[in-house]
C-alpha cells in the first residue's frame, strides 16, 4: 500500500526532534496570532517567512503550516470567551460560543471547539493522504493547456467565493494579473513596467504585497474602527461536555468536517467560507435550529470543525498541483520556491519526505493543539486582552524588519507602505484583496502556460476545448461562474456571507 509506505516516510520525517520542535513552534505562534485580534495568518506567514529561510525545507514548511491551522484554533478561543473573533474564520463561532459563555458554559464551548477541530484535522489528514497521491499522478500528465485551464478555474473560484460584488472581484483578479506582469519577461527578456528601477526587474515580491495589504492595510482599517470597548472575559468552569452535549455535537462535527474538506479544496474557499457555510447548513438541518444564536452547541461544533477542515484541505491543491487556493497557500508555494523546491505534482515523487512529512506533521500539530491549548487557556486569554494600541506598532516592527530582510532592500519597505495604502483604499471600497494576491502569483505562470499552449496549437485557441481534461476543467469553471450569476444562488451567496 502506497499510502502506508508514504505515511511511514512522513512519520519518519516529522518525528525527528528538530521537526517536532518546529511543528510545536508553528502551532504555538499560530495560536498566538489566532488569539491576537487584527493579525491574520497571511500577514503572519509573510512576516515569518524570512526567518524560516534558515531552516531546511521540511522544517520550514512544517512550521509555516502549523501557523496556519494553529490560527484556526486560536481564533475560536477569543470568539468564545470575549466575543471577539481573533480570526475571520471564527466570526460565526462568536454567535453561539459567546452565548454559551454567558450561560456559564465557556469551558464546554472551548472543549467542543477543540474536539471538533481535532476531529476535523485528523479526518483531513487522512483525506489528504488518500487523495493527494492519485491527484498528483493525474497531474503529472498535465500539459500547458491543462495548467492554464486549471488556473482559470482557480481564479474563477476565488471570484465566486469572494464576498461582495462579482464584478469588483473580477476587477481585482485582472489587477493582480497585471501586477504580476511587472518585471522581466522570461520569454523575450523585455523589461515590462519596470521604469528602469532595478528592484522591479524580478517583479514585485508577493510577500511584500501580502504584508502591505494584509498587514499594514488592516492596521489602518482597524485603527479607524478603534473604540474604547471594554472586553469582559467569561469565567471558565467545567471543561467536560455532558452526555447530552456529546450526543448533540457528533452530527454537526461530521457535517462540518465534510463541508470544510470540500470547500477547502476549492480555490478561494478555505477556512473562512467553510465556517460560514457550515453554520448556515447546520442551522437549517439541525433539530435544534431554533436555538441557534442563543448558545446552541451545534453552532460551535459545526463551524469549528469546518474551518479547521477547510484550512487543512486547502493543502491538497497546493501540494499536488502547485496551485495556491488562498493567499496563505500562495505564500507557502513562495516559501517552497525560495527553498529550491519546485511546487507541482512532482513534489510527491521527488521529495517524498517533504510531501509526507508535512502531511503527517499536520496530524501531530493537531494533537499538540488539543493537548496544549486547553491547559494554556489562561495565557491565551491574557494575550487577547493586549490592547490594540500596543499591538499594532509591534506588528509594524515585525513587518518592517521582515520585509527589509527579504533582500536587504529599503525599496521593499517603501513598496510595502504603498501596498498598505492600497489595502486600506480597497478595504474602504469593498474590493477583496485576496483574489488580487492570488492572481498576482498565478499571473506569470498563466502567461507562460498560455504562450506555450498557443505555440503548441499554432495559435488555435480551441486547444483548450479539444483536450478532454482541459475542457472538463473549463466546464466546471463556467458552471461555477454562471451559477454565481443566477439570481437564486446569488441571493443565497449573499445570505451566507451576511450571517455575521
Amino acid at each position: 500500500m502506497e499510502i502506508f509506505s508514504g505515511l511511514a516516510i512522513g512519520f519518519h520525517a516529522a518525528l525527528t526532534p528538530f521537526n517536532l520542535l518546529y511543528c510545536l513552534i508553528g502551532v504555538f505562534i499560530g495560536t498566538l496570532i489566532g488569539v491576537l485580534p487584527g493579525l491574520g495568518p497571511a500577514a503572519t506567514v509573510a512576516m515569518l517567512m524570512p526567518a524560516s529561510f534558515v531552516l531546511p525545507p521540511v522544517s520550514s514548511l512544517i512550521m509555516l503550516a502549523g501557523i496556519y491551522y494553529g490560527a484556526q484554533y486560536g481564533g475560536s478561543t477569543t470568539s468564545i470567551l470575549v466575543n471577539l473573533p481573533g480570526e475571520a474564520s471564527s466570526i460565526v463561532t462568536t454567535l453561539d460560543g459567546y452565548q454559551m459563555s454567558l450561560q456559564g458554559r465557556a469551558g464546554v464551548a472551548l472543549a467542543t471547539a477543540a474536539i471538533a477541530s481535532f476531529f476535523a484535522g485528523t479526518v483531513c489528514t487522512v483525506i489528504i493522504a488518500l487523495f493527494a497521491p492519485p491527484l498528483a499522478k493525474v497531474a503529472l500528465r498535465f500539459g500547458a493547456p491543462e495548467y492554464f485551464s486549471l488556473m482559470v478555474l482557480g481564479l474563477v473560484a476565488s471570484v465566486v467565493l469572494a464576498r461582495g460584488s462579482l464584478l469588483k472581484a473580477i476587477g481585482m483578479i485582472v489587477l493582480g494579473l497585471l501586477f504580476g506582469i511587472i518585471g522581466t519577461d522570461v520569454n523575450s527578456g523585455v523589461q515590462r513596467y519596470t521604469f528602469g528601477v532595478k528592484e522591479l526587474m524580478d517583479g514585485i515580491g508577493f510577500v511584500t504585497v501580502a504584508m502591505g495589504m494584509f498587514g499594514i492595510g488592516e492596521i489602518i482599517l482597524n485603527l479607524e474602527r478603534e473604540g474604547a470597548t471594554d472586553r469582559v472575559v467569561a469565567k471558565i468552569t467545567s471543561l467536560m461536555p455532558t452526555r447530552e452535549d456529546w450526543k448533540r455535537m457528533v452530527a454537526p462535527i461530521l457535517r462540518g468536517t465534510a463541508l470544510g474538506s470540500f470547500l477547502g479544496i476549492l480555490p478561494g474557499g478555505g477556512a473562512l467560507l467553510a465556517s460560514f457555510a457550515a453554520y448556515s447548513v447546520e442551522k437549517k438541518v439541525s433539530k435544534h435550529g431554533a436555538e441557534f444564536g442563543t448558545g446552541a452547541i451545534e453552532g460551535v461544533a459545526a463551524p469549528e470543525s469546518a474551518n479547521n477542515a477547510g484550512a487543512q484541505a486547502s493543502f491538497i491543491p497546493m501540494l499536488t498541483l502547485g496551485i495556491p487556493t488562498s493567499p496563505v497557500m500562495a505564500l507557502m508555494i513562495g516559501a517552497m520556491v525560495i527553498q529550491g523546491v519546485q511546487p507541482g505534482p512532482s513534489v510527491m515523487t521527488d521529495q517524498p519526505a517533504l510531501f509526507w512529512g508535512v502531511i503527517v506533521s499536520m496530524w501531530i500539530g493537531n494533537l499538540f493543539l488539543l493537548v496544549l491549548n486547553l491547559p494554556m487557556i489562561g495565557l491565551w486569554v491574557r494575550l487577547c486582552l493586549v490592547p490594540y494600541h500596543l499591538l499594532y506598532p509591534a506588528i509594524l516592527v515585525f513587518c518592517g524588519i521582515g520585509v527589509f530582510s527579504l533582500s536587504n532592500s529599503e525599496f521593499d519597505v517603501h513598496l510595502m507602505a504603498l501596498f498598505g495604502v492600497m489595502g486600506y483604499i480597497f478595504g474602504k471600497l469593498e474590493c477583496e484583496p485576496a483574489p488580487m494576491l492570488l492572481a498576482m502569483i498565478l499571473g506569470p505562470m498563466m502567461e507562460e502556460h498560455l504562450r506555450r499552449a498557443m505555440l503548441l496549437s499554432r495559435g488555435d485557441p480551441t486547444i483548450f476545448l479539444s483536450r478532454p481534461i482541459s475542457l472538463g476543467i473549463l466546464v466546471v469553471a463556467a458552471v461555477a461562474l454562471v451559477a454565481a450569476l443566477l439570481p437564486a444562488i446569488r441571493a443565497k451567496r449573499e445570505e451566507a456571507f451576511k450571517e455575521e
Binding site: 494579473l177 520569454n187 485603527l223 494600541h389 527589509f404 498557443m454
Partner: protein, 155 residues
C-alpha cells in the same frame, strides 16, 4: 434626477475609476512592447488584453454606479493613513543611517501616534522595549545583516 452627491461617494464608482485608470495606464505604458501573433505571443500581448479588460470593467462599474450609486465610501482616515505610511517610509530611509534601534523607536512612536489612545510614556516605553527586543532577536540571535547603530551615529 441623477443624484451626483451619491455618485461622488459611491464605492462602486470609485472602484471603477481606479480600475479604469490602472487599465488605461497599463495599456498606455505598454503600447511599445511587441504584441507578437496569437501563435507567438510577444511581451505586449498579455498586458494589452488584460489592461483593456480592466479598463472595461472599470467603465462598466462607473456606468452602473451612475444608474445605481450604492453605498458610499464614508470618511477616510487621512491622518491615520499618513502616520502609518510615514512611519514605514521613515524606517526605510533611516534604517542604515540611524541603525535598527533608533529607526525602530521612530517607527513605533510615529505609528503609535495614529491611535486615539496614544500616550507619550506608554509609546516611548513600547518603542524602547521593541527596539531592544528586536535588536537581540533579529540581529544577535538570527544574525540579520542590519546595523544596530547606523552610519550617522558612527556605527
Amino acid at each position: 434626477m441623477t443624484d451626483w452627491k451619491a455618485i461622488g461617494e459611491s464605492k462602486d464608482f470609485w472602484s471603477g475609476v481606479i480600475f479604469l485608470g490602472v487599465g488605461v495606464a497599463f495599456v498606455g505604458l505598454g503600447r511599445h512592447y511587441p504584441m507578437g501573433t496569437t501563435m507567438r505571443m510577444g511581451p505586449g500581448y498579455f498586458p494589452m488584453v488584460l489592461g483593456g479588460l480592466l479598463a472595461s470593467i472599470g467603465f462598466i462599474l462607473m456606468v452602473r454606479a451612475l444608474l445605481r450609486p450604492g453605498p458610499g465610501v464614508g470618511r477616510l482616515a487621512y491622518n491615520k493613513v499618513a502616520l502609518v505610511t510615514l512611519s514605514n517610509v521613515l524606517f526605510a530611509l533611516l534604517l542604515r543611517r540611524l541603525g535598527l534601534a533608533a529607526a525602530l523607536i521612530l517607527l513605533v512612536v510615529v505609528s503609535a501616534y495614529a491611535s486615539k489612545r496614544f500616550r507619550w510614556p506608554v509609546a516611548l516605553t513600547l518603542a524602547v522595549g521593541l527596539a531592544v527586543g528586536s535588536s537581540i532577536i533579529f540581529v544577535w540571535l538570527l544574525g540579520l545583516p542590519i546595523p544596530i547603530r547606523g552610519t550617522w551615529l558612527g556605527g
